[in-house]
Structure formats: C-alpha cells, structure tokens
C-alpha cells in the first residue's frame, strides 16, 4: 500500500526536477487554501441563512401563498425535461438506483421543511421519471415532444401569470428565460442559417449583416436596447419587463444559433445535395428532408452548450430590473440583518450554478458521443 503510493507519487509528482519544484510550491498552497476553506465552511459559516432565504432565492418575491403555482411550473418543466431525456437515453432499471440515491439525498436535505414541500419535491421527481419512461418506451410519443414543449410553456405562463408577471423571480425566472430563449431561437436560427447560404445575394447580405452585428455587440446592450425601444414602438400594449427581456435574449441568441446551424449545414457532404437534386427533388424538399436532418445531428451538442451560455447570461437581466437568481441573493445581502453573510450566500449561488452548468456540459458531452456512434 505504502509502496504503491510512494511509486505513484514518484511517478506523478516528483518525476522530473521541474515537476518536483512545481509540486513543492503548489501542494502546500492547495492544502492551505483547502484547510482555510474547510475550516470556514464547518466552523465559522452560519448556514442557517440558506434554508431561511431559500424561497426568495428560488422564486424571488413571488407571493408565498401562491407557491403551488411555482410548483406546478416546476413540475411541467420536470416532465418535459424527463421526456426529452427519454428520446436520447432510454430509461433502464439501473437508473432507478440513482433515482433512489437522489431521493434519499433530497429527503436528508429537506428534512426540516414542511410536508407540502416534501410532497411537491416527490411529485416533481415522479413526473420527471414518468416523462422519461413514457418517451423511452412509447416511441410514438416522441413525435409530440415539440408541441408538448410549446404547450407546456404556454401552460407555465398561464399558471404563473395571475399574481402578476412583475413578481416572477429567482432561479425559476433564470430557468424560464433560458428555456424560452432556447426554444424561440431555434426556428429563427435555422432560417437565418439558410438565409446566409441563400443563392439570392440580397437575402445573404441581410442575414450575414444581422448575424455579424449581433455577434459583435454585448448581450447586455441588446437586452437594454430592446427593453427601451419596445414601449416607444408599441406604447399602447404595455409589454411586461419579463417578455421584453426574453425578446432581447432571443434577438441576440438567434444569431449564435444560426452560426451553429450553419456549421452543421456545412458539414453535410455536397454529394447529398447533388444526389437529391438528381432525383428531381425541389430545393425546399432537399433542405427539409436531406440536409437539415443530417445537420441537426451535428449541431445538437453545440446547441446544448449554447443553452448553458444562455443560462450563464441570464443574470444580465438585472439591467432591466428583473430579480433573477443572482439578484435575489444580492437582495438578501442588502438586508442589514444578513449583511455579514456574503460568503455563505455567494457559496450557495456558486455551487448551484456550478452544479447546473456541469450537468448541462455533461449532457452535451454525452450527446456528442451518443450521436457520433451512428456515423461512420
């Protein structure tokens, strides 16, 4: 045991003089930082602030007595995500073990909270697994996934709206912005990508100009610009801040989606188009049933990465006065009573963002491997 670990460290830590020097500098530094961090986390930190302010972090200033609306929205999102998962990775009995572990973990974390919360969490998990199993085994149900997402979003809006759209906030708002942007940008991105490859020079120029301009200016600027220009254009409708923010995000990210889709279109071999043309197919049919399906296979992993980019950019909605996850955390810190809990709140925000981000990155990598299997 000691011999092998000595051998391992000689090989991996002290193999060359340069490595030895690096190890001697870096290892004490890492150990010191780790010690300080752990000492803080287990001794000084007062974690009671997290359960106390969890509701504000998750849903912002949404009224507490209407919380069933938020849970319904979470349930719809969970079911849809489960269903999407099932289309790619079918549910197997082995996954039930992981789910059981997740259940136990959640039960341990939430043991102090009320019966209602625990039931809601259990229901959310059950719905997610239900969606997962449905699309895994009933293959016909996969065709209804896209309409289901659109209907689901409409349902979420309908459920959450009554207390007032201005009250939306917290992590739920971040997630909603991400989902809406990811779905809305897809058709526009595909259209822009085809536009940039069009045979008509005018279409090409217009689409290229749009994409290049959007890619050269900061997102925060576009969101702010859309936010101030919409009331000027249509003052009689009074569009909500949330909707204006989502439109701003979509306007910006459509250009990025277009570039990903274009790289996918370029990866389809020319022979495919030529073969289809020699069969007498029309240009529209060629693009719809020959080129696009093959391109989508290539662009799904980068598009999932793009979803992470959108999620990571969502805190920028602070510029138009919305209370997203990060802003909710800052709101709690603005309370003088909690002024000295800066590190606790930021640790929680960082860990949550990192977990969600890692999950999306992991999914993108898995998808890449999975989709690459089918090709030569």
């Amino acid at each position: 045991m000691i011999a092998t670990s000595l051998k391992w460290s000689r090989h991996n830590l002290f193999g060359k003089p340069f490595d030895t020097a690096l190890s001697l500098i870096v290892i004490p530094g890492v150990l010191w930082v780790a010690y300080q961090g752990l000492a803080w986390a287990f001794q000084t930190a007062q974690w009671d602030i997290i359960p106390e302010s969890l509701r504000v972090l998750m849903i912002g200033i949404y009224p507490a007595d209407q919380i069933w609306r938020s849970w319904t929205a979470v349930g719809i999102i969970a079911a849809l995500l489960g269903g999407t998962l099932g289309c790619v990775f079918p549910f197997r009995a082995g996954h039930a073990a992981y789910l059981a572990i997740a259940m136990i973990l959640i039960a341990v974390i939430t043991r102090g909270s009320g019966m209602f919360t625990i039931l809601a969490i259990a229901a959310t998990l059950a719905v997610a697994v239900g969606g997962w199993i449905l699309t895994s085994h009933a293959v016909q149900s996969r065709r209804f996934l896209v309409p289901a997402w659109i209907l689901g979003l409409v349902a979420i809006f309908a459920v959450l709206s009554p207390p007032g759209v201005a009250l939306w906030g917290g992590l739920l708002l971040s997630v909603l912005i991400t989902i809406v942007t990811a779905i809305v940008t897809l058709p526009f991105g595909i259209l822009l990508a085809f536009g940039r490859r069009s045979r008509l020079a005018s279409v090409r120029v217009i689409c290229t100009a749009y994409i290049e301009i959007m890619r050269s200016v900061p997102l925060i600027l576009v969101v702010y610009w859309i936010w101030i220009i919409m009331p000027v254009l249509a003052s009689q409708y009074g569009i909500a801040d949330v909707a204006r923010g989502m439109i701003g995000f979509s306007v910006f990210y459509a250009a990025y989606v277009a570039e990903y889709v274009r790289s996918g279109l370029q990866s389809v071999p020319r022979g495919q188009t030529e073969a289809a043309r020699s069969l007498g197919m029309s240009e529209f049919d060629i693009n719809r049933s020959i080129v696009l399906p093959q391109a989508i296979r290539v662009v799904v992993p980068p598009l999932v990465g793009n979803v992470l980019d959108i999620f990571n950019a969502a805190p920028l909605v602070f510029i138009i006065g919305l209370t997203d996850f990060l802003r909710a955390g800052q709101m709690i810190l603005a309370n003088p009573q909690y002024g000295d809990r800066t590190y606790e709140i930021y640790s929680f925000l960082f860990v949550t963002y990192f977990l969600i981000g890692s999950l999306i990155t992991f999914a993108a990598r898995k998808l890449e491997v999975h989709l690459a299997k089918g090709t030569r």
């Binding site: 690096l22 003052s235 981000g357």
Partner: protein, 404 residues
Amino acid sequence: MTIRQEAAAIDAEDRERTARRRNNRIRRDAIQFAIIAAAAALVVLFAFSVKNGLAKHGIQFSFSFLWNAAGFDISEGKTLVFDGGIWPSLTEFTPDRTVAQAFVTGLVNTIKISVLGIVLSTILGTLLGVGRLSTNWVVRNLSFWIVEFVRNTPLLIQLVFWYFAVVLHFPPIASAAKLYGGIIISQQGTYLPMLVASKNASALSGLLLFAAIAALALSIAVRRRKIGRIAAATAIALFCLTLAIGSPVAVDYPAASKFQASGGTSISPEMAALLLAIVVNSASYIAEIVRGAIDTLHKGQWEAAASLGLSRRHALHDIILPQVFRVVLPSFGNQYISLTKNTALGIAIGYPELFNIYGTIANQTGHSLEGIVIVMASYLVLSWIISWLVGLANGRFDKRGAMR
C-alpha cells in the same frame, strides 16, 4: 433533315434557351429587388415609428446633445481634449466637458480594460492550458478544476464576487498589505510602482535607452542566431552606457499615508475587480483552446523533429508552436472579441466603461436611442479592429508556415 434544317433547329433551340435564361435572370433580379425594397421599407417604417413614439414623449431624435456640457462627473478616466495643438491630449474628465467627451472617456476605459485583459488572459490562459497537460498530477487537476469551475458559472457572479467579496474586503489603507516591489493593496485601490522620467533625463540618454530597447527587441525577434547574439550584446552595451551617463527613467514607488497613497500608478477597486474577473474568465476559455490545439497536433510532429536531430527547444520553436499558433489564432480572436464585449458588465460594479457612461448619459439627457447607436457602432468598430489585427497576425503565421 438537311444540315441546314438541323442548324436552324439548333439555332432556334439556342435562342429559346437564351430567352429562358434571360427570363430567369430578370425574375431573380426582380426577387432581389423586392427583398431589398421590403427590407428598406421595414427599416424606414421602424425609424419612422420610433421617431413618432419619441415625439409623443417630447423627445427629438438628434445628435446635437453631444456638444452640450455633460454636467456629471466620471469617477475615473481620461478623455481626448483638443486645445490648440495638432494632436489631442489625454486629460482627466471634468463635468464641464461635452457629452461627446464623456463617451470618449468610456471608450478609453473600455479599451484600457480590453487591452490589459487580452494580454494578461493570454498569458494566464496559455499557462493554464499547458498546465492541463502537465505530467504533474496536482498541477493537471488544479488547472482542470479551475477551468471547469469558471466555464460553468456565469461571468456576472464571478465579477460581483470579486468585487464585493474580495476587492472590497482588502485591508484599509492604514494597515494595507505592502508586497515586494512596493505594491500596495488596499480597499481604496491597488498602487503599483511606475516608470517616470527622472530629473537628470536628457535627449542623449533617452535616445540611448530607446536604441537599447530596439536592439533587445531585435535580438528576440530575429531568427538567425548570429545576428540575435550581436543584437543582444549591443543591447547590453547600450544599457550600460545609458546607466553610465545617468538613467533617463526612474521608478516612482507609491507611498502610503494614513488615508491615501501617492505616487506610482493606481488601480481603482472597480477596475481591479473587473480586470480580475475578465482575465480569469477569458483565461479559462483560452486554456481550453490551447489544450485542444496541442492535443490535436499529431505526436508524429515531435517524433519527426526528433528523428531529424532537432533539439526539444528547436522542435518547439520551429515545428510545434508555429502550427499551434496557426490553429489557435482564429479562436483567440473570437475570445478577444467576447472579452471586449464582456467589459460591458462593468456597469454592475460601477466601473465607468462605455456602457456605464451611456447609462448615465441616457439618464441625464433622455437621448437613449441616439446614445445606443453610438455605443453599438463603437463595439462594432472595436470588434472589427480586433478581427483585423488577428487576421494580420494569422496571415503572417500562415506565410511563415507555408515557406518552411
């Protein structure tokens, strides 16, 4: 069928084909024209309704507000001032300057952060990228987790964390940390030593120093070893000569008193936080680019270089790095552009970059739409300049790679 009849038939067919082609061309031109007309009409309609909407609020769309006095102060930053000379000078912004000069102040601050960020993040990113391929287990994993953590969390929370949880928790200046080399780190700002012209500077010593630096640059840039050595020797001789007749520059160390520090150059807490956040964030993306490029480079390249008898240093310098740079440069360019765009987040912590100044101007004057046109155009131009510079560098590497 006679030959003549056949020729006539072919002729007719030809004519028909040209007619068809002409028709097709006309039709396509008509479609083009219609699309352009529709787009132009949309833009005009958009502009018109914006103008109408603004008129309803009593705001006139015009750029004349740019020449009014600004009337607000900017916490830090210099602007261009034309005071008689041919060249404008950079001076501190004051409230009696024009709105246009306030925009320039923002632009100067944005460029300052971008240039510093590009240089520092390239260095840190390359180190992190090489670190991820290190043979040392600790370094490899440390680099990996830093990169993963930074890439999977939002930049804004990193920025806010650096500002509120790190930079503002530095010690106050009375008990400030003094590091080696005279750096002072405090809540009020970070103070660094700076080179200034010394009292005994003369034209001759300045010229000598310039020549020494030029020789040093030549010795680094030139690829022929013999010339490089001569240049290095010249540089050392010139430096000694400069020191002998009295150095033209001196180091100005900051000195801390009870409430403030003076001397040297200072970095405000906002700038320090923005720079830290942007450098660490961009470095993680650059690390991924560098790692990917080295990874995809074929191992055979090293082996072939070794089998030709090239030393490791020469193989790296002449074989590996030129190829890595060629692969990496376009991605670096994209990263530099997004770094420049990310400086707009400075508004979250109150650093007066372009977007923040725009916000102040829009609040003060109400001309938010004109302002946004200026800001958008500025960012577009900055992006174009970066991609142009990267394109230039790329062309150089390409040519060098092709010749060798």
